[in-house]
């Protein structure tokens, strides 16, 4: 009877305690930080799965979506800026391709 009481009190105390952990956003995970920047260190095999889970969680979180949107807009702008005009020989190739297609379709008509 005494043993039962002691066990019950012990289990009660253990389950009664609030866990002393701080919720870390997946995007702030130390593993993600470790893989960023120039001095990134390789992951251990055991860290691969948590890293992948955090990457996916981060990507689908509100913060991850916002970051992806910002990156998407920036990439589109960069692509437009780099290639809004033909440079060097690339226009010659474009002329060749366009003329060849045009002549081919003309030849099928006449």
């Amino acid at each position: 009877m005494r043993f039962m009481c002691i066990t019950a009190i012990m289990v009660g105390i253990l389950f009664g305690q609030e866990t002393d952990t701080v919720e870390v956003h997946p995007c702030d995970s130390p593993l993600l930080e470790q893989m960023k920047g120039n001095e990134k260190r390789p992951l251990k095999l055991s860290q691969m799965l948590p890293f992948t889970i955090n990457v996916i969680k981060c990507r689908f979180s509100e913060r991850g979506k916002n970051t992806a949107n910002i990156r998407d807009v920036r990439n589109k702008k960069m692509a437009y800026k780099d290639a809004q005009q033909f440079k060097s020989f690339s226009s010659t190739c474009a002329y060749c391709a366009a003329v060849m297609v045009f002549v081919f379709y003309l030849s099928t008509i006449f």
Binding site: R71, D72, N75, K76, K77, A79, Y80, D82, A83, Q84, Q85, F86, K87, S88, S90, S91, C93, A94, C96, A97, A98, M100, V101, F104, Y105, S107, T108
Partner: protein
């Protein structure tokens, strides 16, 4: 030797820097419509369908090597499979030089020039019996007749050329839709087929100048 290396090294460095600096790999999966005249072939097979005759399945991988230029490889395939009978497969392989520009953000006009190396395989799976094989197996205590499978193939390859102009809309910076119109020119010769190393006469199909319409989904990395 030293002088050559002194020139070669900076050239290689510039080349690899240009490649790495603009690393953009474009993978395209799509479909194409073309109009070859395969009447002789389809008559011989006794079967034809719109899908096997006019539809091409496409995989293309290109790499951006300059602001407006991509180079890469493309493959278009047309299949015709008959159950327990012949299989026919056209493979059009293109070595792509593609230039492009953006008239507006997210919209790209592209122009493609590509020499091609194309081929056609006609094959059939054959089930054979061989008395020597059956005799050998019977000496081990096996009874009955045993068959083995083999494949007979005739094939031909020819040079070609393709050109197209197209428009691409980027839904995201890494995902786009691509529509193209163009043509392929094939130098097919029915007298240059091979069967078991021997030159034979193949089907008189008409592939010389074909209009081509392509639609694809592009993934950019």
């Amino acid at each position: 030797m030293l002088r050559m290396n002194q020139k070669l090294f900076p050239i290689l460095m510039i080349f690899f820097t240009a490649l790495n600096g603009q690393s953009k790999l474009h993978i395209q999966l799509g479909s194409g419509y073309y109009e070859p005249n395969l009447a002789v072939l389809n008559e011989a097979f006794g079967d034809s369908s719109f899908f096997s005759t006019n539809i091409l399945l496409n995989f293309t991988a290109t790499y951006q090597v300059y602001y407006n230029t991509r180079v890469g490889l493309g493959s278009w395939n047309s299949f015709h499979r008959l159950k327990d009978s012949f299989n026919r497969r056209f493979t059009y392989r293109a070595f792509i030089l593609e230039t492009f520009y953006y008239p507006r953000e997210a919209i790209e006009f592209n122009f493609l020039l590509a020499p091609m190396w194309n081929s056609c395989d006609i094959s059939i799976g054959i089930e054979n019996t061989n008395t020597n094989w059956s005799d050998l197996l019977s000496t081990f205590g096996n009874t009955g007749t045993f068959t083995f499978k083999s494949t007979a193939i005739m094939n031909s390859s020819w040079f070609g050329f393709t050109s197209s102009i197209g428009i691409r809309y980027y839904i995201k910076s890494s995902l786009g839709l691509d529509l193209r119109i163009g043509f392929t020119k094939n130098f097919y010769n029915k007298e240059k087929w091979k069967y078991e190393g021997e030159t034979i006469i193949g089907p008189g199909i008409k592939l010389d100048a074909l209009p081509l319409l392509r639609l694809g989904v592009v993934f950019v990395r």
